[in-house]
């Protein structure tokens, strides 16, 4: 092996190491430096009624106070999978398309920029997993903190080489008690499976 080739391979290894290290450094970090996202409105009947109507979910514990009182819950509860809805950003409609579909102005998560810059520009949502600790009641105030939980080593997928990125969001009530968690996983891939 020539000196030049050794140098080239050494640099490539350093670059790869640097990329992996930069990914690893983001794991465990919150995606926002601004702290938890708090629901703009407490858990409320109008939003629950709107949600139940959209999905034609006729579970009476969401909208019928009498039926809810007779249930195990004793009062109206929010649909458990509305957990993520309470803290969704209030959209800024003007400019939504120009922002690439992002409902609000914001900075792109550092892990996504890092993967984009390395050629993993494709994005495919892969998994959504919820753990419900307790059902929310009317008046509950919800906060969410999202942390980058893991970035997989590079894997070959049918879409091309890529990394699975997993965030975990912890939802808490006004007292700080955990009410649920969500894991969300995407695949960031190099479209067409083109080599690096």
């Amino acid at each position: 092996m020539t000196h030049a080739r050794v140098l080239k391979y050494g640099l490539a290894a350093m670059e790869a190491d640097s990329f992996e290290n930069r990914l690893a450094a983001l794991v465990g970090q919150p995606i926002s430096a601004a702290g938890p996202t708090t629901s703009p409105d407490p858990v409320n009947q109008p939003m629950i009624r709107h949600w139940a109507a959209a999905f034609e979910d006729r579970n009476p514990v969401y909208v019928d106070a009498d039926a809810a009182a007779r249930s195990r819950f004793g009062e109206i509860v929010a649909p458990p999978l509305m957990l993520q809805t309470w803290t969704m950003a209030t959209p800024q409609i003007t400019g939504i398309a120009e922002r690439g579909g992002s409902p609000v102005e914001g900075t792109r998560a550092a892990v996504l920029t890092l993967l984009d810059d390395a050629g993993f520009v494709g994005t495919l949502a892969s998994n959504s997993e919820f753990e419900i600790v307790r059902y929310l009641k009317l008046g509950d105030e919800v906060s969410a903190t999202t942390v980058l939980e893991s970035v997989s080593p590079e894997k070959q997928t049918r879409l091309g080489a890529g990394h699975f990125v997993t965030w975990v969001t912890t939802y808490t009530d006004a007292a700080g008690a955990v009410v649920g968690r969500q894991r969300f996983r995407i695949l960031k891939f190099r479209p067409g499976g083109a080599p690096a």
């Binding site: 959209a54 999905f55 006729r58 458990p80 999978l81 809805t85 409902p103 959504s128 997993e129 419900i132």
Partner: protein, 149 residues
């Protein structure tokens, strides 16, 4: 469709029991209603022209709608005293207007947790393109105290 009033008795549930299928006729209205009710304003879920500019043939269902329908599928079956403890889905092909989405599932496990009976369910939802979601869930039901003989 009848209203959900009666909850299932956990003691009568068996591994292998099939959940009643839930069939959703998907329209643009349904997709938009679900996206907005879940406060997901990404234009691919309500603006066909925008969706097409992103390479999709039409608006498509958002993930918060998927988890919403999954929870309805579980509680339509098990009743209002159900507590959804855990829901995990894997995402497959997209859902567009004109599709029929059919949810099926079966009981794969039973256990007890203090005063609650737990049921593990494996499920999937298929449309014309293939498997839209597959997943597992754990629901809890209150178990009546056994009366003394």
């Amino acid at each position: 469709m009848s209203d959900v009033v009666q909850s299932m008795d956990w003691r009568t549930v068996a591994v292998g029991d099939e959940l009643p299928a839930m069939v959703i006729d998907v329209t643009a209205t349904r997709i938009v209603a679900g996206a907005i009710a879940s406060r997901d304003f990404m234009p691919v879920h309500h603006d066909r022209a925008y969706a097409q500019s992103q390479g999709a043939p039409d608006v498509f269902m958002n993930i918060l709608s998927d988890t919403g329908y999954c929870s309805r599928f579980l509680t339509d079956w098990a009743g209002p005293d159900t507590m959804v403890r855990r829901l995990a889905i894997r995402l497959g092909v997209p859902v567009f207007p004109g599709h029929t989405l059919t949810y099926t599932g079966q009981v794969v496990g039973l256990s007890r947790d203090s005063d609650e009976g737990l049921v593990d369910v494996a499920f999937r939802a298929l449309n014309e393109l293939g498997e839209h979601v597959s997943g597992t869930a754990t629901i809890g039901l209150p178990v009546p105290q056994e009366s003394s003989p």
